[in-house]
Point group: C4
Chain length 230, copies 4
């Protein structure tokens, strides 16, 4: 894959965020990785989606150093590259402050698994990171945000858990590539919205039965999947 | 009626789902039946609404076997055909994960009859299916989803109850044809939304008076209906 | 004023309802009156807003008898004409099942006066009608809906109270003409939405101070109004 | 800067309010100041956004007297000019009745600092003004609304606090110019929305850790900011 193609995919992923209603103003960023070259393409910091072009996409290495591009990469770049370093199988990362997922992060609660829509995304509650220590905030805050995300996900792995909530902050999502990460971000937001409405209606709502949870997840994922055309 | 016409009606019903805001990504499907031929037209599994054409609509028999069409039919096909087999008078079925109806399904509560908007749709609370047993989930999950829907509806009948909530999952709606099923899905979602807001405002909200409930239902349905132009 | 002009105004008022997000499907209707002729122009029953033309608008007399027009007038026509007969100063009536105002009606609660947005519309809580008796429902339901609306409004008058909630049903709004009634319906819905959110956040929220309430109302209404350009 | 340019900036800021979904009907206004001339450009009162042109923007002096323009300036003009007189560093002011910020104002609660989105806007809770006395309401209501806003903000200053809620009324926001004030109004509304959802989900939600709050604020503001391209 050429870097030019990766830049286009990352541009498309970034433009999809406002189109799906996941971002306000400039709050969000998507990236993609070229594993062969060890290079990550990411949105420049604070640039309006209206004006974003493929040429603005910044190329960084896996330490976050700029390799190509005139602009400064997203301030969240150290978090993205930490995720790429930790999880070999992911090809795209998306960060947004989408309304409902962020509300769960602010409530400092994981998202319980209340229905089959959630099970289609992931067979587990959506995890919440631990609080950063003051030292972690003051030194290398964005890289340490990656550290706590990786801790929250590591046991089950990034294939089982396509997203997590940073406590008091907002979600990060990932997938096989930038477009898959966007799909997970869209799904997470709707799952978060329905979980919040369900919780308001019935604070003691029971989690989805384990059998249905496994069934739905396996319909879409894994060796016996039968959802879709492939 | 030609199958080509049924395919067009089913295509239109499927495209109406994102247009009415009832589906996110590819989560939803509409079907219609040709009762003379015993054939059902249904959305292919996991295909984007943007790309869907009449030629993609899959034709299956009442056992869910593909009769025409290159793609795999919706994974929910066994649920659709179970409903068509059980209820002679229905001509269209719609399944969505629409936000508010799904939140009631996740809260594992029927939707109480709180106002005349609900009574215009149906003179009863919207029922909730019983939980599937583990065996029902593991063997023939989608057909068994049909089984519990039919159980929930059978006593009053599919004419009296145009929709039901699958526990922990989402709604199924039906009607005289695909377009009528879509109208019921749109109405159910708004009824679910207002019932949720009403319940948050007043958890002990009283059900609608029986006299008003019957009056509104009879204005739109049955031998003395006087709503509309026909 | 020609009837043709009234028809156009009533058409525009009806088309404004879906444009402002106040109606789902065909649930809503607007009317206007020609006081000189004693004739009311109103939406036909159950017709889609997409297809509605000025020629479809039905003309009825103040008893609700059709004077011009091929279609059947709105089933709510007896409510509209009852309001026109009771309140000389109103020139337009709008009925919707708008989400938030209807949720208050279903909760069977008047809308408390919690802020200046409400005071700009009306210096009082939005009243709720009493329950109809079974006899009132069974005989002449729509006219009796007018009766309870008039009872709810009569003491303060239709100039002081531009709208009311029918218990278990939905709002009716009125104004100097059809366009003014639409503006009141738009305002009521936003007032209802903010009152609901306020009440969820703070169930014991205090009503707006009387001095501010009077000040805001008088800025927009009455002899010393100084809002706007006239 | 020519006044013509200021008028264009103020027109653009006013038109941005409905585009961002912050205003219903005509409820909102934006202004900007030419500090050299001591002149403020502001929306005319009660004019529809659809019809607004740069020529309609009214120019007033810092006492609110009209200097140029055929229309009557916004009724809230005395509040705007009070803010400009009190806070030298601000160049634009925006007032809306945006849904969620207004709901907090109606609940008579400051907006707690629950997440990093809020910290990006402001490192403090969003303050709520004290109640106006009856005398303050009856004499010079709009100027006294400025008085209580200034009281609420004065201790920390208008640079630290880019907005405040008028008790029982709605928010006022400000910034370096009209466009910056609009951005703050957009951000405040989303912050208010997420804080309300968070509070419903978890009424005892803990405020954001002080270290993260300072970090996020400093990423975007102050001498060591590293967000954006400048």
């Amino acid at each position: 894959m050429e870097l030019a193609q990766l830049r286009e995919e990352v541009l498309a992923a970034n433009l999809a965020l406002p189109a799906y209603g996941l971002v306000t103003l400039t709050w969000g960023n998507a990236s993609g990785i070229d594993r062969d070259r060890g290079l990550v393409a990411i949105k420049p910091s604070g640039v309006s989606y209206d004006e974003l072009t493929a040429a603005d996409i910044v190329i960084v290495d896996l330490d976050g150093n700029v390799v190509q591009g005139a602009g400064r990469p997203s301030t969240d770049t150290p978090t993205h590259v930490a995720l790429y370093r930790a999880f070999d199988q992911i090809g795209g990362v998306v960060h947004t402050h989408s309304t409902y997922a962020t509300s769960w992060a602010q409530a400092q609660r994981e998202i319980p698994l209340l229905g089959t829509t959630h099970a289609d995304l992931c067979a587990h509650p959506i995890p919440l990171t631990r609080a950063l220590t003051d030292a972690e905030v003051q030194e290398d805050y964005e890289a340490n945000t990656g550290v706590v995300l990786i801790e929250a996900v590591a046991e089950l792995g990034a294939a089982e858990l396509p997203c997590a909530l940073v406590r008091g902050h907002a979600p990060f999502c990932w997938g096989a590539g930038p477009a898959a990460a966007v799909q997970n971000a869209v799904t997470l937001e709707e799952v978060a919205r329905m979980a919040l409405l369900t919780s308001l209606l019935e604070p003691a709502a029971a989690p989805l039965d384990a059998a249905v949870r496994q069934k739905h997840h396996q319909r879409k994922h894994g060796p016996h999947a039968y959802y879709g055309q492939s």
